[in-house]
Symmetry: C2
Subunit: 343 residues, 2 copies
Amino acid sequence: MAYVPSQELVAGVLAGEVRAIARLLTRAEMGAAEARPALDAMFRHAGRAHVVGITGVPGSGKSTLVALLAAAIRRSDRRVGIVAIDPSSPFSGGAILGDRIRMGELGGDPGVYVRSMATRGALGGLARGTLEAVDVLDAAGYEVVIVETVGVGQDEVDVARAAHTIVVVSAPGLGDDIQAIKAGILEIADIHVVSKCDRPDANRTIADLKNMLAMGMGSDTTVVERRPAALASPIVVSDPNLPAWRPPVIATSMVGDQGVALLVAAIDGHKSALAQSGEIETRRALIAERRLLKAGEEILRDEFARHRDGKVSALLDQLKSRAVSPRTAAARLLHELHIGGDS
Amino acid sequence: MAYVPSQELVAGVLAGEVRAIARLLTRAEMGAAEARPALDAMFRHAGRAHVVGITGVPGSGKSTLVALLAAAIRRSDRRVGIVAIDPSSPFSGGAILGDRIRMGELGGDPGVYVRSMATRGALGGLARGTLEAVDVLDAAGYEVVIVETVGVGQDEVDVARAAHTIVVVSAPGLGDDIQAIKAGILEIADIHVVSKCDRPDANRTIADLKNMLAMGMGSDTTVVERRPAALASPIVVSDPNLPAWRPPVIATSMVGDQGVALLVAAIDGHKSALAQSGEIETRRALIAERRLLKAGEEILRDEFARHRDGKVSALLDQLKSRAVSPRTAAARLLHELHIGGDS
């Protein structure tokens, strides 16, 4: 396979060519320096897609939900791009979500593009290139881009938050400490989903979630009851007269598509609400800020690696002998590196 | 309660006074600027404790294990400090681990100090001050400092890795995607624990773990079988003639202390092996590097926050209009801020 310069891939991506998309995503994931101008171009061309972040604790059924959601969005004839952070091991080769989805009804649909991005084990650079992958799929013309991450860990949650609509998935039957972690991410939700609601203990989960939301968010949250009658008319999420968006709670299951259809309606409703209230600008500002900080941290890591055997090494010796603290050493290093400067 | 200057707390901590420890830890967790010189002093005084990182997926029984481990270490008359990252919500007020441990046999033992540190929801600064909390307990004279984090997410895993001995906890009966996450952290283990081995499906978990380790690490891993006979003589971990440390697999349960005693022996064996092989220096260098990078990221976040309404704001406008990419904007900002410089 001949090497294609990254700049040439840009034209391919903008034309929606799947091979160009795949190649540029790989370069984004590798953090290849020569792909940087192409990725910068992707960012400038992006901005049309509605980006949906889906997060939840391990075991909440996020991957299954994403597959069902993508299929449901397809029914409205919109193209869907999916970026999934794969928590599986470097050992196993990853691509768990990808495999699952390929096995499902989405297989072979050219209107869906799925990319599983590996975490790099524990060795750093988690989800590097993830937000740039969103840019690529956005620029390639996918109207909806779904980003799926596990809702544990700052980086993972930050990735989900760099979305226009944030969906937090809960599920029945999880253990105590998973529930505790779940509680920590409830606050970021624009939409709550309780998955696996075919399980008999789902009502309990929904009740618990309602209680937690009521405690934490006062009366500002509307709960969509799990009544079949309500499923067909998602009134809470489409009322343009609502003063502010109130995160609905939607019950989904693998049996029957009503919940997922409601989720699509809620996502579209949230998109409309953002536009009508003007809150989309606030959201975009938040996303820009988050991305600026993430990019700064990435530059920092790259510079540290680049000077690993030089300036960094001398400071590490001082640190090892406890002559200076990490904070003091880091401040000196940043000063010496003139980070972001002409070095 | 009168305000005590942070510098005065230093003398209190070095004398092992619990109130001084508690106050300085609170200031570390808050990221209070005036506490910085005191925390720098803590770092310089630290370095004697053996730091044990305990991590594992949600549901693996880490908190229970930490409580049992601390009690077992106490039997050798060493003082134990515990820093636990609490994944529970800002809603609930946290301190899950702290509460559990206080209820257990450790309650009232002045030789054990437990600190639960809250994660800050999804709003950034996860585990800020965690490694400085380790410094404080180290400087206060606790011979063993245990740091417990959930093994999901870069920051969380990094905190566990800033330890001399890293224990990764697995457990039977967890779901598929939890297993996948588990696979991602196996590689960092110095010691593997399979908890909840009173469960009938534990043998399956141990067998699976052995298979994963055999696939990923070749013959370089020694597995301690779950035979009662083996529990009393942890030969694999105490043989000084071993060319390199081979991570043992230790089965623990809440019924019977044999497994936990073996874990103490393994931790002590790993400490000896690090010293005898000289690998402790490599480990210290890795920890120093990790802390330098983390401190650099912290400075970056602080500077971004400080200039939020100034230089940052102008670049955010360019970012929002997609005139520049996040990477380019971040590079410009870092240059303008002269981060780490005289500003």
